[in-house]
Symmetry: D2
Subunit: 151 residues, 4 copies
């Protein structure tokens, strides 16, 4: 288990831009979805595709929010870091910090809920996921340091 | 000037859905952008396309947030209502209430900033827009009633 | 049954644009999907949402193509017309003509296949749809006239 | 100069799917845009972001087409290969072959035009790009072999 926050780079592409020449903000939420998938696959070690397609557990968002601190542009590499804020019976609250070359670009939050695609009802976070989330949460001291910098 | 909140219907389409069979949430933010444009065009009477393409004033979002209260599906009509929460020197804070057949589906917020596309700096809200926003804000008592219902 | 091609207007929005200031082309294919849905709902009289969500018949595309004749911009209204080129056992080939204020903007083609969502196999076009398609095809002479203008 | 076609992998994500459980086809055209950008950056050695943002040369598509040979799903890795079919004074015709684990998934074509963002008119392909395209075209014999397999 790597002893640091999960961070993954997302290149800003032509498709993300709008006529103001910057990233059109709903596209950032697409990237939030990507970093959640990548975090599951590459840190938690739980394959997101298998979770939804085979185990029939989806992770819809019941809340999403973001402060856009500065615009990003084609050619930028947006580094997104995942901070696990808290877990409930069936909810997972994630902070997402975005930066370009180390300069903060956005600060987001997404609340996911574990949902059975069979019953379409919220279910308790499956034990394997809960265990891995707990491991990730032990990185929290690092998070405190990270966040004390900009709060 | 119509004496009620601006509300506009957005049909949920196949394109909005994901493999869980419901609307993929970033698409709601696209609809938020649509309702802002429609509100400018049809209530404020300031053509959004002219504003950006000719007057070179853009309205990027510096914040967007949404609570997704219940999922929506293909064939639903999502009614979005615009609530003007406050205006600053260059910022416009908007609440967006979404409902399907009168049942609340989402509650969002977007903070827009008036930006010059010539200098790429925030500018004071142009007087014609400020005047129309003031007129819209006089609908606030109605908003209070609406919001007291769910806060 | 109206005796003319189905045409529906789609407003070009900020969300459709890219940093070149024009519509980013994949967004046109989203509009193609919209006009097919609207054609089903409003001309064929077969509710697209019901077809897929209740009858479990999807209409995925096995081919899509488009010539972009001239760029479109925010504030334009893109009128899309549906031309039924041919139907096979399980395929429906549609031409889509796009114009802004009568000036041709694009010419597209989409080939849909009727697919059972239960078996995930192509199925014969259901009789009610086949019947309505036949009715629409009787508008073909009109189509010939329309198309002779630009071929 | 690597002596083979440029191929790049694109993971199929939740965001690409629709309620039929497969990739919603307009998203493939987004991936076509990505592979063109990556081909410019990583094979041609001409930075796409610089080209558009600094040299003010855009590459809008005047035509896009695709046959979708078999559906793709979340968790698939779609490998896209770029085939340079021909170049004109200001146009670049590209074939795009898509495969998942070696199995063909799609076959597309995009025609790009070099456009000055200053005059918004088509311009001759800049010499540095033309030179690199010529180098890439020398891979054509390989292409012939590739294509003879499925034509």
């Amino acid at each position: 288990m790597p002893n640091q926050l999960f961070t993954s780079p997302y290149p800003i592409r032509f498709a993300h831009t709008d006529m103001a020449g910057i990233v059109y903000y709903p596209n950032y939420f697409n990237m939030f979805q990507s970093v959640v998938e990548d975090w599951f696959d590459h840190w938690l070690g739980i394959r997101y595709a298998t979770l939804i397609a085979e185990r029939k557990v989806a992770l819809p968002s019941v809340r999403a929010a973001c402060d856009f601190l500065c615009p990003t542009r084609i050619g930028d590499i947006l580094d997104l870091s995942v901070i696990l804020r808290r877990t409930g019976r069936s909810s997972i609250t994630i902070g997402i910090e975005g930066a370009v070359s180390g300069k903060p670009a956005l600060r987001g939050e997404v609340v996911l809920v574990t949902l059975s695609l069979t019953t379409f009802k919220a279910i308790e976070i499956p034990p394997d996921i809960a265990g891995r989330l707990k491991a990730y949460q032990q990185l929290t001291p690092l998070v405190g340091q990270l966040e004390s910098g900009h709060d």
